[in-house]
Symmetry: C2
DNA sequence: TCCTCCCTTTTACGCGTGTAAAGATATGCG
DNA sequence: CGCATATCTTTACACGCGTAAAAGGGAGGA
């Protein structure tokens, strides 16, 4: 059945004989018109092909009902998971989410921000690239729209709400676990891409020094800061293992993707057996439990992070609280002991 | 430095003393105005905070420059990778991409389609849920917008362009490899979520029968068709292994995520050693090379798929070729031999 | 200096919908 | 059946910008 295509509300009004203002109210809320009228309209719609134009709809409203999200990489399951949760909660709140990925590029991140500004979104959630992010862009965004930083804060952009994981708590938890079960861990840091890289490393060092132990941090030559964490960790550790370094004890990786790469390298060097090198990660990547050996890690509370982020923007949006002191919500992680450590 | 916020082009015009039509032309193409004028404007912009409204901009044009994308799950790295490539190529073509994930839900898929329709996008790329997709929604989309199906075709929606992988070729290639190197494979199918599930299984059966061998297909009770492929495969295979079934020979999995789950189960049963069970996958999941043992698989040509999908919509958009016969482009895969088979 | 040519300004309308105001009509009740 | 009230129609303006047409202004050449 080929329904007749209607292009505007005006046209709809003409063809079904109901005034445009009434139609407008109907599409915003069918119950705002008399039941008999609503029936007449919905009956007519059976035969017709019409959808109100989303943007024309918002053009003349103060709130657009749109939320922008910027993430560094859609192909990183951590961000994909956060995004998924954000979309779910945003839908519950009646927001439409528009996501832009920066593909790891500061320029694309700026463009994404520009895009969201020009869309006049009600608010924006940004998981920033980190150190590479262009401060002017983020600052401009902050000045113009309700905004919340997610996952990684930005040094130099302190007056913005932030939601993320308590890296100090999480690293201490997994670190203490490793210590408790016998091995002072070496730390495999991620490429210095964002603030998490620093704060996790700092938490590790603090813990070690607190215990009177020597912190040992491995960091490869950051060859053009790469988001290919698995490959990065694999190559770095392979280099060490080949020279007999770090072949025993425990290795605490700044995130699971690194751990997966390290695990692979260790396995190839036959280091992961009984009494071999213990490896632990951070994040509870969806595939971590399927690794061999299954990866011991800490799980970030992604739903809580997503929910909090939405709550904070929503507050800013309704409260117009541009001048309130910035809020900072971090969540604790959960220790997940598997086989690798 | 706090730049003064300007809310409309009208306002901009008033404050910098340049007529709105000229500003309009400037923002569309700075070279369409005299160089001295362009300078005057860009100089003024240094002090001011203004971005033309994206949607108002498109409201009065025939083409909106927007492309819609619908994927089943942002947290499936295959779709995330496809999306990433689509975004890259779309940017090259000057399109702005708006992505909606259906989170595996037919209802959300329909809503996403509705959303894209109401946005008046120039075209839409849909990686459908598959059998669960609501045909009316997809059909409505097809009638109203240039559209291309990606990854999985929809039975019953045949007059739509399709871009994907040649499952027959890919399954035969990996299947023949397994046979050539010694083992007639058993097939672990994915939950019947989309057409790929069927066509890969069909390709397997065809190959086996052609070789005069008995096809053996494993399929768990599809407990509410699940997208948790790894867990699904793990549980199904664990059940078999526990009863001593399929513990040797070769297992061909319909995709890598299944293979990862199966691999994990096999490893726990000590089946993956020398002369043990051989396991192969399909897709070359980004983490497959980091599995232990590293997963033998076939790689889909994701960039080619993304590029072709964009080419097809672009053709439809410019050609208004709504009545041309539907085109169907499938790409060959590349055999990637690692350790698992 | 005058006259083109090019770019700009002015003016006006259009995109599809929200929304306010005033008048017309339908609904429900006594 | 008449009236008060809820709802609808009509009319008009607004949102932010594209764009066409006509008129204005400046730079360059003769």
């Amino acid at each position: 059945m080929r329904k007749a295509k209607i292009h505007s509300m005006e046209e709809l009004s003409a063809t079904i004989g109901i005034s445009r203002p009434t139609l407008s109210r109907y599409f915003q809320n069918p119950e705002s018109v008399r039941a008999s009228t609503a029936r007449k309209i919905s009956d007519a719609m059976e035969t017709l092909d019409y959808v109100p134009n989303f943007f024309a709809t918002r053009l003349n409203r103060k709130a657009t009902g749109m939320l922008g999200v910027v993430i560094p990489h859609a192909t990183d399951l951590f961000f994909a998971s956060v995004l998924e949760q954000i979309e779910i909660f945003a839908a519950e709140l009646g927001y439409t989410v528009f996501t832009q990925s920066s593909h790891g590029s500061p320029e694309l991140e700026s463009r994404a921000i520009e895009q969201l500004l020009s869309m006049n979104a009600d608010g924006v959630l940004v998981a920033p690239l980190g150190g590479q992010s262009r401060l002017e862009s983020l600052d401009r965004l902050r000045r113009n729209l309700p905004m919340v930083l997610v996952d990684s804060p930005i040094p130099g952009l302190d007056d913005v709400d932030f939601v993320g994981t308590d890296n100090r708590q999480s690293i201490r938890m997994i670190g203490e676990y490793l210590l408790r079960t016998g091995h002072p861990p070496t730390f495999l840091g991620m490429p210095r891409l964002n603030a998490n890289a620093d704060s996790r490393e700092a938490a590790y060092i603090e813990l070690m020094e607190e215990k009177g132990l020597e912190p040992v941090v491995i960091r490869g030559r950051s060859v053009g800061a790469s988001w290919h964490f698995e490959a990065y960790a694999h190559d770095v550790m392979e280099g060490h293992f080949a020279q007999g370094r770090h072949v025993s004890g425990a290795l605490l990786c700044a995130n699971d993707r690194l751990a997966i790469g390290a695990l692979r390298a260790a396995t190839r060097f036959g280091l992961t057996g009984e009494n071999g090198l213990r490896i632990a990660g951070h994040d509870d990547h969806p595939l971590s439990r399927f690794m061999t050996p299954a990866l011991t890690t800490v799980a970030q509370d992604i739903p809580a992070i997503a929910r909090a982020a939405l709550r904070l923007v929503a507050d800013q949006i309704k409260g117009d609280s541009h001048d309130l002191p910035p809020r900072r919500e971090t969540f604790a992680t959960r220790l997940i002991i598997r086989e690798s450590a």
